[in-house]
Symmetry: C3
């Protein structure tokens, strides 16, 4: 239970209402009860259906409601309060006794390692990082500070992870790239994959996502890259700062993604391509060539999205056009027979 005036302080907002009113939790606008606080970015909401004890709104909002807190960024304020009401709890404290930690591993301060996790030779984990249960860390891995590695993640040898990185459960970092050649008998032979995977600071890797190492070069995600679940990142790929990839997207080998690139779900990008900074890629797009400047693309093969949409409408009208061709043919035949 917390007073509204205290909440206003926490989120650095201006309160219009009763500072002594108490709030017990946070909720969505739709579900918030009269002892809960919610937020809205919209001006036109049906206030009759809102029961929240207070609303967080934009500084310039003209919404009329008993308790309002005005802030610069309501969504950021909401995020802050989520952490206030539901503080992050570590999986466990300290190093569980049921772990395997190499005698050559280097552990920083205030680290936790959950049950049934392993840390291999010469791997290092920096301060305040938490490793949950069932996490397998191979040799020569570097993990920065303030990271959270969720359960059943696998981090293969030589992977390097920055600070403030979150890796969701089941993600595999540093699996072998898909590289083969034919030997002299014509049998498919594996090309050893000895490269490194490098993850920048403030990255987040989704559940069951796979990031492959390459033969000898590096696969790299720069700072603030965020990937959703079940994503495939091929060997030797580079992803620029702050790019965000939605679920089930796949990037083929040696492709370079720029900064601030946004991808919808189930996107596929071919190998050895370059995607410029700021490109937006609609869900299910298949990218088959370089994208040299900022634009929005869709379709397979990809196109500029307005062109793609126009073509989709034309396809839906093909029936009509075909009828018109047939009618023209009849008319022309008649004219010819005149």
């Amino acid at each position: 239970m917390i007073k509204l005036k205290r909440i206003a302080e926490i989120i650095n907002g201006e309160l219009k209402g009763n500072p002594e009113d108490t709030i017990t939790s946070i909720n969505s606008l739709k579900n918030a009860a009269n002892n809960e606080i919610a937020f809205t970015m919209k001006e036109t909401i049906d206030l009759k259906s809102v029961k929240a004890g207070a609303l967080i709104v934009k500084k310039e909002s003209r919404i009329n409601y008993p308790n309002l807190i005005f802030v610069d960024q309501p969504y950021m304020a909401f995020a802050k309060l989520l952490n206030y009401f539901f503080p992050h709890k570590r999986f466990n404290e300290g190093i569980d006794k049921n772990t395997y930690i190499s005698s050559t591993a280097i552990l920083g301060k205030n680290i936790s390692v959950g049950a049934f996790s392993t840390i291999g030779d010469n791997s290092s984990i920096d301060d305040h990082t938490e490793i949950h249960a069932g996490v397998i860390i191979y040799r020569n891995v570097k993990i920065g500070s303030h990271c959270i590695i969720y359960s059943n993640v696998v981090i293969r040898e030589d992977v390097e992870i920055g600070n403030h990185v979150i890796i969701q459960s089941g993600a595999i970092l540093g699996s072998d790239g898909f590289g083969f050649t034919l030997d002299s008998q014509g049998n498919i032979t594996k090309i050893p994959q000895k490269g490194r995977v490098i993850i920048g600071n403030h990255c987040e890797i989704g559940a069951n996502t796979c990031i492959d190492k390459s033969t000898i070069e590096k696969t790299e995600l720069k700072d603030y890259v965020k990937t959703d679940n079940l994503i495939q990142i091929g060997h030797n790929v580079t992803i620029g700062k702050s790019s965000r990839l939605s679920a089930q997207t796949g990037i083929s080998g040696s492709t370079e993604i720029g900064e601030d690139v946004l991808m919808g779900g189930q996107v596929g990008i071919g190998d050895h391509l370059k995607i410029a900074n700021g490109v937006m890629i609609a869900g299910k797009t298949g990218v088959t060539g370089h994208i040299k400047q900022k634009c929005i693309i869709a379709g397979y093969p990809h196109q500029e999205i307005r062109k793609w949409r126009k073509d989709q409408v034309l396809i839906r009208n093909l029936e009509n056009y075909v009828e018109r061709i047939k009618l023209l043919e009849k008319k022309v035949k008649k004219l010819e027979e005149k």
Copy 2:
């Protein structure tokens, strides 16, 4: 070894043949040997190639074969016999000594927990449920009775699972939803994901499937929902009773799927959409808008399937139509020159 008359009892069928003939196993129609039983739903099969010792057929079947058992539902009878000849065996009995189980966890009767699994604080597992090896169950998780949780599944905090649920290996329930905003410096900042994942009774979740929690609301699969492998279910999604999703399908955040919806593989559904009860969605469909009533859809952007098929045929004939346009142009030019 079991007599045919006993098999007929087990599947509640009517035997036409020798009740004393013995059967040692069950097999497919194609592969069944003369001491094995098979089933068929078809009337027109090439009996010369069938070697089975007995066939299970529909009540009204007119198939002529030495040993026949007539039942209402041959496929259900086959399922029953599969369980008879290959009875389910638990991964292990009781609680393996190599587990971590919180002192505040509540375990029902007749539970098994395999090696290297963990059960967190205040989590509860109801009677007869089996947890295989390497399963990581976080805090405040509720798992109902008669469930099977296969190896290396991760169940994050606050997830609630009904009775008779099966979760295949590697599935991740309750991973963080993909929610970010920009902070005042323009850096991408994580929105804490504190919501719950709720799985109804009789659900099955496929291998390596991911079901995300949301910021504060719930992600919910109602009773009898069945998902195949490698599926992505975004935060705040609801899936209605008895809907079935095939492999590699992805549902974006806050979408509501109705009851009895069937999806092929690699389907993608956009965010904040509503899909009506009974809708069928062909493989690889990209759903970009609400589907307001029962129908079959395909394509990307999705269309009613007959329209989509017709358009695909028209596209394949485009070459021909273009030729006809060119011919018309020539003819019209000639007519104009007259």
Copy 3:
């Protein structure tokens, strides 16, 4: 540090240059320093930007460079040297004490099993195979010799794996096929999946890939099949020798893939189909029918790739054709009014 003449011996090549020059590592053509060796398959490279201490080239190459080693297969030679400079290291030696191994399991010679792995009743592991950490092997599993099973792999009951097989982290072999029927009350009921998964010799299975067992028949990958990450292989599927599947591809139940079939990423193949030997399938293709002979296909529904490409060009020109139809209509109207 190794002399060039020794490298030439290892890769069975002919050295042109200084046999006493020393090399310390291997690298890509782009990044190799003057103490590193690289390879190239191309004849036309910008030698000014190359700093490598030596180059491996094709026997017939006419490249002019201080140190050259001529071989039949430069890429194979490169693979050999990768293994020389970065020799494979086992995850651990011997059987970790923190494992669960059934008393009825049979272990060959020179096997390693990492921490927190399990081997179930009657399962056998042949000589020289390494099982990393967190690997769960159920009952009656057979694993051949010289295999590498990476961390957090799950191998379900009755799975059979040949020799020299590599299974990347997080892969699930033998998860239940997606088979259901309606019971007499109309509820969806699971069909027990009691079949086997069989993996041939020299196969490689990608990270987080799922291979389902079927009700009673077998799901089989023949020798030298290579699958990338996040692939779904449905129950009762057969994949012929040396076929290669790229990431996020899905094969539906009971489909038979021939030998030497190549698939791009995110391909989807319907159920009960036959794909002939040598077929090549472009990324994102949706295969909806049998492919009876060697060819290259693309699109959804799939087509021969040249036809598909032609149609894509026609679609992009639809705007133009529609304008021409409109113009024809005007002209014909005028002609009719004459």
